[in-house]
Amino acid sequence: MPNAPADRPRRITFHEPGPLLVDGPVEVELEDGTTVTSDRFRVALCTCRRSRRHPWCDTSHRKRTRRTREK
């Protein structure tokens, strides 16, 4: 959270089968050595490897069905 003291342990939450939630801001080092950052209050890191916005979650972990309905 924006006003949390920096010396407090950073909380990481698992929401299987979804992303890892990490309190932001975060810097993520990718496989190729480059880094990306996000200063959002919380960040969702992809764990299913299907995201098109890797390393950020884009909800691609969701189950797919044949039902037709859009909200």
Partner: protein, 329 residues
Amino acid sequence: MDQHRPEPPLPSARGRISAAVEEHLLGTGPLPRDEDTTAVPAYGDDLQLALYLCYELHYRGFADVPPDREWDPDLLRVRAALEHRFLAALREDTPVHDTLEGSLAELLVEPVDGSGVTHYLRDEGELWQLREYAAQRSLYHLKEADPHAWVLPRLSGRAKAAMAAVEFDEYGGGRPERLHARLFADLMTDLGMDPTYGRYLDAASADALATVNLMSLLGLHRSLRGALVGHFAAVEITSSPGSRRLADAMRRTGAGLAAAFFYDEHVEADAVHEQVVRHDVIGGLLEAEPHLAGDVAFGVDVTGYLEDRLAAALLTEWRTGRSSLRGGL
């Protein structure tokens, strides 16, 4: 670009009720009679615009309308009658799941053969249709997150903290250039549209007005706080995949960088918001007030009901090459 002043002009009336409400706002005529408010269709242009006018006094107001009309007791009585009609119709028409888990589960799967508005716009939407979509949605996106901010004082503890965090993100994390409403104004500019607040109120269809009236209705009534939270969850859960399709549509049509960025930001932001809203806002609310589970489910399902109505109306017009707007752009 100043989207804050002046207050937008009153739109054109769409029937007897909205005309009478406007006359009253300007001090030039009487309010609609009770029998008038019960005689028109609940989702029709006249009732939806009249209700929208009443609600808009709580946001930005209108030019030439005294700001204290917001708390005019006679007008509030009329608003209550309109709300009663609207809410009764929604309760009657919305298929509500037996459990909240059922309501949410349906949103958490992604159809591989989806045929909604965002699928259509991604696959075959033309620039004029993207502009129409932006005009319809501008009624909400230019005040994005405002209707939901009203629920904050009605929440406590975990739910309040989580809701405030999500709203903070919607409001740009403290940076005005990243306010989601501002990002949408930039999108409109990319599309060659006028981002002035209220500019497309005359053009918006009754079905589009209804989706925004729902937010105001749920936001302004503490008694409907559970439904507001359910509504917000439905918006956040469905946003990421839909935004991805709209970002693709913006890129395919060459709409512009800001136009694509608005939806790219929502793919990423709402993937986070969805988790926070489900686990902490809904979770926190129901921990404190478990009796609200049914209201939360209603909020989820009623959002889908009105969004489906809007989607069907848009696609019906667009598939035959017709404008979905009143009077075009």
